[in-house]
């Protein structure tokens, strides 16, 4: 069969050479077409394309430059060589012969002036065989992908409704993504080298003004005036990762506020909305109950314990406007739990789900017993001076006198005789081995909080806090602001602040997770 093909090919070539029928198209027949974009590990570069004779084509000499091919035009046949392999193109024949194998093309090569042009499919059908390397042509997006790059196809489908806007984003093959919120914009960034994305036409609306590709691996959703918050869930569907993103309106403050609260004033945490449950500060998004959420199995953060400070008989700080620290911490903790669960697909536990008294040591014990990878205690601060304001992050501190007792050893007998040393970590000093990680996490939180909410003059500090000392994992205590300060107490009770705060902590957790992943080998 191979010999037959070779014979046919040789016959065709000789026939063409004899007939001298190599087709020459006048220059006037060459019109520019949307260019191709070549993606390689080194970056991207354009490849000009032309519409010639009703077919999108690319110049053979251009491909020769890009893919280091040798092109010869001999006796009416064109030979293209690379790495010891040769492809033969035949004028007037929609065929190419590569090492004796015939490859069909949608049209024969054409000559314009001194240049030969081949159909775009030459790139995807002939070049991989010729160069013996993966080269893929994605005609709809006009991408040429050379090498083993992750370039998922991304399709976007907006589904507006009266109360929200759902955007479904499919990535094929599967690609994880992270969402970050900045002023007026949501950014969806994929774990990929590039995106093969088709942006649908979107009419500017109350939730979404525009949808665009931000850069090589990210999409930008320019938000509309009704947008207040969002929820998201990811789930694999075959070879596709589906991200469902709901853009939600803000709470209706006059209806969500308790009777007697003036319209437009911040809603105290714990207030129950009557019209829009999804936007209530006390009712965080529970997307995890609506859609299955799948996390990253190798993530170093699989369980997070959030500790809403105080509760029950212990109200914590009482603000002059009636806000209680215990209510505020619970409301924000529930928001944060919803966001971490829905967007990261991880297990999130609260030390208390309702208003009840809970001893400090039981809070840390819950985290230790559930083998949490991260512990976040939420509080609101108070000072004898009302001028103090701003958020701060605390990591554990220990008395110098405790250092010698931080770790101790004990010899225990083993089967078969002998003994071995085991390391004992005292319960009330368990945090000592995680202080470095806790400090790293605190620094990331500071960076994320700084761009969103007011910070204390000393935003990160060590403190001898009981709830941190026994934590057997990275742990921080966040004071969201001072309820003894008039500006802070109004700010902290508002949904806008709580959204910004939760977003900052969420982004901090994602950064810390990535930091742990990147440094896993050093541990």
């Amino acid at each position: 069969l191979t010999r037959l093909r070779q014979s046919l090919c040789a016959l065709a070539l000789s026939t063409l050479a004899a007939a001298g029928l190599a087709r020459v198209v006048p220059l006037a027949g060459q019109t520019p077409a949307p260019q191709l974009v070549l993606l390689t590990a080194d970056g991207r570069r354009p490849i000009p394309a032309f519409a010639i004779d009703g077919q999108d084509r690319v110049a053979l000499d251009e491909l020769a430059t890009v893919f280091q091919l040798a092109v010869r035009d001999e006796a009416g046949a064109i030979t293209v060589s690379s790495a010891g392999r040769t492809a033969v193109l035949t004028p007037n024949q929609a065929l190419a012969s590569v090492s004796g194998r015939l490859i069909s093309l949608p049209a024969p090569p054409v000559r314009v002036g001194t240049r030969w042009f081949v159909p775009l499919d030459f790139i995807g059908r002939v070049l991989p065989l010729l160069t013996n390397s993966p080269i893929e042509l994605r005609r709809p997006s006009r991408l040429v992908i050379a090498g083993n790059l992750r370039v998922p196809r991304v399709t976007i489908r907006p589904e507006p409704s009266a109360a929200s806007l759902r955007i479904t984003i499919d990535a094929t093959p599967q690609a994880a993504s992270t969402i970050t919120q900045e002023t007026g914009r949501l950014t969806v960034r994929f774990e990929a080298d590039a995106l093969d994305v088709t942006i649908p036409g979107v009419q500017p609306g109350p939730f979404l003004q525009a949808l665009r590709q931000l850069d090589q691996t990210a999409l930008a959703l320019d938000l509309g005036p009704r947008f207040a918050t969002y929820r998201a869930a990811t789930l694999p569907a075959g070879s596709t990762t589906r991200l469902v993103l709901d853009l939600l309106p803000g709470q209706i403050e006059t209806s969500a506020a308790p009777p007697g609260t003036p319209a437009g004033t911040p809603v105290p945490p714990g207030a129950t909305p009557t019209t829009d449950p999804s936007a209530a500060p006390s009712d965080p998004p529970r997307i995890s109950e609506e859609l299955p959420v799948f996390g990253q199995p190798l993530s170093p953060i699989r369980t997070v314990v959030i500790d809403p400070g105080h509760g029950g008989d212990d109200a914590g700080v009482r603000a002059s406007n009636g806000t209680l620290e215990k209510d505020l911490t619970l409301a924000v903790a529930q928001r944060l739990k919803g966001m971490l669960e829905s967007r990261l697909g991880i297990r999130v536990l609260l030390t208390r789900e309702e208003d009840r008294t809970m001893p400090v040591e039981q809070r840390t014990a819950l985290a230790n017993n559930n083998k949490a990878n991260l512990f976040i205690s939420l509080h609101a601060n108070g000072s004898p001076r009302t001028v103090a304001r701003g958020a701060s992050i605390y990591v554990a501190a220990f008395n110098p006198a405790d250092e010698p007792r931080q770790r101790s050893g004990e010899r225990v007998p083993v089967f078969g005789g002998g003994a071995r040393d085991i390391e004992l970590v005292l319960w009330d000093l368990a945090q000592t081995r995680y202080l470095s990680d806790s400090t790293d996490f605190a620094a990331m939180l500071e960076q994320e909080l700084r761009v969103r909410i007011p910070l204390d003059v000393r935003p990160v500090a060590p403190a001898r806090f009981r709830v941190l000392a026994s934590a057997n994992m990275p742990a921080v205590l966040i004071e969201m602001g001072y309820l003894t300060n008039a500006d802070d107490q109004n700010l902290l009770a508002g949904a806008g602040f709580q959204n910004d705060f939760v977003q900052a902590v969420f982004t901090g957790v994602v950064r810390f997770r990535d930091h742990l992943t990147a440094t896993a080998g050093d541990r």
Binding site: V317, S383, A397, A463
Partner: protein
């Protein structure tokens, strides 16, 4: 009975009377005078010591509400460390005159102070907890007010443990661990000394 024998008996009787007077009257009088003098001296001495003062640094909340600043005050002198510690804490618990602000809840009284080695144990009344308005910053300031007042003025005291109504507490208001003696927290103590007459 011969006159000689009669004189001898009379001499013995007189000697016995003198001995009895001396034993039961003169000697107790003389000894009682010494005791009274000693008692008077003893009574006079505390009065003298009560007048003696030392300059001690007490701690109050800074203007920004995030740290403690030292303020020099006269405090009653005491010869031993425990008594001096008690005098300092009692001075620290006196309500502060404006513009000074104390981080100690009003109504808190001192129950006892005792010293073991370089650790001081300060037993305060329940108002320290029930009157505390909460907040980790306020709580740190409260704890460190007592810790700093003792460690800054008494070189023999390195750390301080707070007790409330004679008992050890986990925390005052949910944050700072009180399960062990604490050293001063440099993070909330301003080094610059503010002196007021």
């Amino acid at each position: 009975m011969t006159p000689n024998r009669l004189g001898l008996v009379a001499a013995v009787v007189v000697a016995a009377l003198l001995a009895g007077w001396g034993l039961f009257t003169a000697l107790p009088r003389w000894f009682g005078t010494r005791q009274q003098a000693a008692a008077a001296a003893e009574a006079a001495a505390p009065g003298d010591r009560a007048e003696r003062k030392i300059k001690a640094r007490l701690f109050y909340v800074s203007d920004d509400g995030r740290s403690l600043v030292p303020v020099e005050r006269d405090v009653t002198y005491a010869e031993d460390t425990a008594r001096q510690a008690r005098a300092i804490v009692e001075a620290q618990l006196v309500p502060a005159d404006p513009p000074l602000v104390s981080a100690i809840p009003p109504g808190t009284i001192l129950r006892a102070v005792f010293v073991a080695g370089t650790d001081a144990y300060v037993d305060l009344s329940g108002e320290l907890v029930t009157g505390h308005p909460g907040g980790s910053m306020h709580e740190q300031l409260t704890v460190d007010t007592i810790v700093s007042a003792l460690t800054a003025n008494l070189p023999k005291i390195a750390s301080v443990q707070l007790l409330v109504d004679g008992k050890e507490l986990d925390t005052l208001a949910g944050h700072v661990s009180l399960s062990r003696p604490l050293v001063p927290n440099d993070a909330i103590r301003q080094p610059s000394a503010e002196s007021t007459p």
